[in-house]
């Protein structure tokens, strides 16, 4: 009976993340609302607050956002196996479809409507990366300090050929020391405002 329960939960985990991984375009961030609906309302694996906390953490921690979320939910619902099943569900279709797409891309003839369409899609997609920077900037750029860090990171990677992981570490160190010694600590981290999921902060 207990094993039956667990298999059912694992199956649900796989379905939730496979569905989200197969039917959302333009990256993992777009998957979160779809996952939320299934996890909280349809299969009732956890409360909405718990999910929102995991979703927020998924975005602040390093790694693949959709996979972070799958790991949290999977482990919460069914331990280590749940984590692997949910993670597998979230990534398998991206993997398979990408290989198929890469192979098909080789057969696109030079010139002609398909090549024309793809070349315009390349231009549009490049613009969407720029717009991702804008969207994230609206949430993360709120002080002069953050503007300086953003510009420094941009210049370092785009023009000075400094490797991105080093830039991330330096920026993190700068953030830590700025919070400790420079100016006052911004007590409201950028990500908590949106959903108030962290709780316990409102002293009444």
């Amino acid at each position: 009976m207990k094993i039956k329960e667990k298999i059912k939960v694992l199956l649900h985990l796989f379905i939730i993340f496979f569905k989200a991984g197969t039917f959302t375009f333009a990256g993992g961030l777009a998957m979160l609302p779809v996952i939320e609906r299934d996890v909280v309302e349809k299969y009732r694996l956890m409360s909405k607050d718990e999910f929102l906390e995991y979703a927020t953490l998924s975005q602040t921690l390093p790694g693949v956002i959709a996979l972070n979320c799958a790991s949290f939910v999977g482990r919460h619902a069914a331990g280590a196996i749940g984590m692997i099943v949910a993670g597998f569900g979230a990534t398998i279709s991206a993997f398979v479809l990408m290989i198929v797409a890469t192979i098909l891309l080789r057969f696109v003839p030079e010139g002609g409507p398909v090549a024309g369409a793809f070349s315009a899609i390349r231009a549009a997609s490049a613009a969407l990366v720029l717009s991702a920077a804008f969207t994230l900037g609206q949430h993360n750029i709120k002080s002069i300090f953050s503007v300086i860090l953003m510009l420094a990171a941009f210049t370092a990677v785009a023009f000075l050929n400094i490797s991105a992981p080093i830039v991330v570490l330096l920026a993190g160190a700068a953030g830590y020391f700025y919070g400790k010694f420079g100016g006052r600590t911004t007590s409201a981290p950028v990500d908590t405002g949106a959903d108030g999921s962290s709780g316990g902060e409102d002293m009444e």
Binding site: F25, G28, V64, F72, A117, A120, R122, L128, V129, L149
Partner: protein
């Protein structure tokens, strides 16, 4: 034997990207671009990759790892890169869940993230620039020629698509999937003239 070495190389590169990848797939893009110089992926191939990221469903980091791995070392390479970029998520989340209460209160982590978040915006901007250069600059031309001879350097049609898409998405919040589809249709139609 060489295949095994290639796979290990890919695994290591993408594991590093997964661990350092704050801010999701787009922020990882600039790391993937830098690492992929090792795998002799050209700017034009990056533009291809970025377009496929939009068309193919799923997380961008997974799509990208699969693409780079496949081009460099076939299906085994794709598996190695994808597992490499995924593993850090599993490890980090397992650790965080064990210490979740302490993680939430951790001052060092908070300070660190307050620096990483704005930097991630800069990283995505840098990735956008690299990818845009791969798309918009004509084959054989150089960035540096842009101001001397803009028409000979960049494609006007693609540049227009780029600017219009950016404005429609940033300013008017038009759905990215719709914009991608529209660009495809326009590109196909224009190719008949």
């Amino acid at each position: 034997m060489t295949l095994l070495l290639q796979c290990l190389e890919l695994f290591y590169s993408f594991f590093k990207i997964g661990i350092m990848g704050f801010g999701g797939g787009y922020a990882m893009m600039s790391m993937i671009i830098a690492e992929s110089e090792k795998y002799s992926i050209t700017a034009a191939q990056f533009a291809d990759l970025n377009a496929l990221d939009m068309i193919v469903p799923g997380p961008i980091a997974i799509n990208s790892a699969t693409y780079v791995g496949y081009i460099y070392a076939g299906i085994p390479g794709a598996v190695a890169a994808t597992v490499g970029v995924s593993l850090p998520s599993l490890i980090i989340i397992a650790l965080v869940m064990r210490f979740i209460a302490r993680y939430r209160e951790n001052k060092i982590m908070k300070g660190f993230l307050s620096g990483v978040k704005p930097a991630a915006v800069g990283l995505i901007g840098a990735a956008a620039l690299t990818i845009a250069a791969g798309v918009l600059i004509k084959e054989g031309a150089e960035w540096s020629g842009f101001f001397a001879d803009p028409l000979g350097t960049a494609s006007v049609f693609l540049f227009a698509i780029f600017v219009i898409t950016a404005v429609l998405n940033i300013k008017f919040k038009v759905n990215p999937i719709l914009l991608t589809l529209a660009a495809g249709v326009i590109g196909a139609v224009v190719s008949f003239f």
